[in-house]
């Protein structure tokens, strides 16, 4: 089966040049695919700087991977024929993290919505175009009269963010990659917008990659989750397993750090996890989390943990689970889809010896 969009063993290293003193491995040997047939909702979470936006930019072809490849319907993004490229540009839509960055300050908001309608011939008449724009805007709680005709700086942060969501909705793509799409809107509107994204998923079969640091909404709307830590997968699987009972110490830290909307519940952040054991590596192989991990063992500073498949629908890159079978990075897709009824039999779970 060829997926709609596949990332195969991609890595991205920044600063690999003469002028840079430091190199950052923003993403390390990452494999992930979005099926064209079964719509999915996948959350990607991870701390600031863990490589989430880098992944988005790679999937959109805005930057090229240092190694590995990204395939759209089986073809390398870098060598898409013109017609395929056009299909890709429509099929895969992004909602960018930063509503302040993507807007061209010299164009009115209308332009953001009109240009995709024009480029993809979504409307035949002016009235049709207006209707499309009005519909998309109202889905995100904006009123055309108060939005159109304005420049980006004349809108609030959340309003700009919602324009980006409206734009993605307009195109009815196959896949929406949303990088922190609602980080600047209030809880009520957040629920409304995420609900409309979810409705698109259910009614039109649009897959959704939801990148966020908001684990609560990730839990509420997604089926699968990938937790990134310093550019590598720390934990992945069915969101109903991973969030309520995290296995990787980093995921435990993340879940344990969620501030509950109750002033009397404790909010301890890093302290919730306990003090790191203080073991230090000698060589280049070690668990990326060892320096913060209260469970670190000697092996953690000697080897880099691979993913261990602790259950059919979850895997954790932590030696605490070193007894479980190894899950090669490029077979990570096997742990996904646990929450979905599979129409055709998925790869059966076979333990590796």
């Amino acid at each position: 089966m060829t997926g709609l969009l596949e990332a195969r063993n991609i890595s991205k290293v920044f600063g690999a040049g003469l002028v840079h003193k430091t190199q950052t491995i923003a993403l390390r040997d990452f494999t992930f695919s979005i099926s064209g047939e079964t719509p999915s909702v996948t959350a990607i979470v991870g701390e600031s700087g863990s490589g989430k936006t880098t992944l988005v930019r790679l999937l959109l072809g805005l930057i090229a991977p240092t190694s590995g490849e990204i395939l759209y319907r089986g073809q390398d993004l870098r060598h898409l024929p013109a017609q395929q490229r056009r299909a890709y540009l429509r099929d895969v839509q992004a909602i960018f993290q930063d509503p302040f960055e993507v807007f061209n300050p010299f164009y009115k908001v209308d332009h953001v919505l009109e240009s995709p309608i024009r480029n993809f011939g979504l409307a035949r008449t002016r009235q049709q175009r207006r209707d499309l724009m009005a519909e998309a805007l109202s889905t995100v709680g904006l009123q055309p009269a108060e939005t159109l005709g304005r420049y980006p700086h004349q809108l609030s942060g959340g309003q700009r963010q919602r324009i980006m969501v409206a734009r993605a909705l307009l195109l009815r793509p196959r896949l929406i990659i949303a990088d922190e799409p609602v980080s600047m809107v209030d809880a009520s509107l957040r629920a409304t917008i995420l609900n409309s994204l979810l409705k698109l998923n259910q009614e039109f079969g649009i897959s959704l990659v939801y990148i966020t640091h908001d684990l609560t909404t990730a839990y509420q709307i997604s089926e699968d989750i990938i937790v990134l830590y310093r550019g590598a997968v720390a934990e992945a699987g069915d969101v109903q397993l991973v969030v309520p009972q995290p296995e990787h110490p980093y995921t435990k830290l993340l879940v344990g750090s969620i501030p509950l909307a109750d002033p009397d519940a404790p909010w301890q952040g890093e302290r919730a996890l306990g003090a790191p054991t203080g073991l230090a590596p000698n060589g280049d192989s070690y668990c990326a989390f060892h320096d913060r991990c209260p469970y670190a063992m000697p092996v953690c500073v000697e080897q880099t943990p691979s993913l261990f498949r602790t259950a059919p629908h979850r895997a954790s890159a932590c030696f605490l689970h070193g007894d479980a079978p190894i899950l090669p990075n490029d077979r990570i897709d096997e742990v996904f889809g646990g929450g979905r009824p599979a129409p055709d039999a998925a790869t059966p779970f076979v333990a590796e010896s």
Binding site: T22, E47, G49, E101, G158, A187, Y219, S257, G269
Partner: protein
């Protein structure tokens, strides 16, 4: 009588002129903040929170204009200062971490140069070794390695950039720090670190913090008092515990009810109806078209903010006894 508040906002009105008429972004807002207090502002997207933040620093640009009201910092009326006087107050006495500030960092300048420039602009330049020490300490305060000083903004993640902005805002140790969504780009662990830092720094400096945000969970843990904005109005304000335990205003009640939880999957549910127009705001209470408890009087008369319980203010007819 000595003024117990470091900052007092009275009857603030800010409008933006548009071809379709004035947008009443802030419509008669009053509140006060005590020295060292942490005050949170939450509310609908587009309800005027950032506009308040900008007004406090006199940074509203045309077509926006402060129509009316008063902002006093330590007894000094900021709205009457000359531009030059205001320039000296900014950063040194009251500073702002603007919404999305991390993206206004100059892309072609290293972080250290940008921080140095900020100091120089406010007449607090430091040179050579003194600056290096200053920079290292400043970056450390917000949890960044000193090496970050030598980097360009594009080399930093969103979270790192946001911390640079917080570092800039605290660089001159102001009395009031206004932070507009300082952590909405950060993961929960870093959020905690940043809030922890902000809290430590502000208590060291004795500075008050006005923190604007959307994350009610974060607010519950980072401020002492919260104000809730809806359609340019402050509809409720109370000590954090009172606000979460016994919210008075129906908007606040529904906002809290719409928070997602981790106790099992549920349908995410926003407040029914659409956000209000600020061009043609509804008559009476701005929330009346969406309010489940709406009464006749709500459609015609704006309820005044009143102290219904000690320290707990709300503007809602439900609590008006005639």
């Amino acid at each position: 009588m000595s003024e117990p508040n470091v900052l007092r906002v009275e009857g603030l009105r800010v409008h933006y002129q548009t071809p379709a008429g004035p947008v009443k972004a802030v419509d008669g807002v009053s509140f006060a903040v005590r020295p060292g207090e942490r005050f949170g502002l939450v509310g609908e997207s587009g309800s005027g929170k950032s506009t308040i933040a900008l007004s406090l620093l006199r940074m509203i640009k045309p077509p926006g204009r402060v129509e009316d009201g008063s902002v006093t910092l330590d007894g000094v009326e900021l709205l009457e200062l000359t531009d030059e006087e205001m320039r000296r107050v900014r950063l040194a006495r009251i500073s702002l971490v603007a919404q999305g500030a991390m993206n206004s960092l100059n892309p072609v300048k290293r972080i250290r140069e940008q921080i140095a420039l900020g100091l120089r602009e406010h007449g607090a330049a430091r040179e050579g070794r003194a600056f290096d020490t200053f920079l290292t300490e400043l970056l450390e305060r917000v949890g960044l390695r000193r090496g970050v000083g030598d980097m360009f903004p594009h080399e930093l993640s969103g979270g790192m950039k946001q911390r640079v902005c917080i570092a800039m805002a605290i660089s001159l140790e102001p009395q009031v720090i206004v932070a507009d969504e300082p952590t909405s780009a950060l993961d929960v662990v870093v959020q905690w670190q940043v809030i922890d830092t902000l809290r430590r720094v502000q208590s060291e400096l004795g500075a008050a913090v006005i923190q604007i945000g959307h994350d009610m969970g974060l607010m519950a843990h980072s401020v002492e008092r919260i104000g809730v904005m809806y359609a340019g109005k402050l509809v409720e304000s109370a000590a954090v515990r009172d606000l979460f335990r016994a919210p008075l205003h129906p908007y606040t009640q529904l906002l809290i009810a719409s928070l997602p939880s981790l106790d099992g999957k549920e349908r995410l549910q926003g407040i029914a109806g659409s956000p209000p127009s600020l061009l043609n705001p509804p008559a009476g209470c701005p929330f009346h078209p969406r309010c489940p408890f709406v009464m006749d009087v709500c459609r015609t008369t704006m309820p005044p903010p009143r102290e219904h319980r000690p320290g707990h203010f709300a503007a809602c007819h439900l609590y008006e006894t005639s």
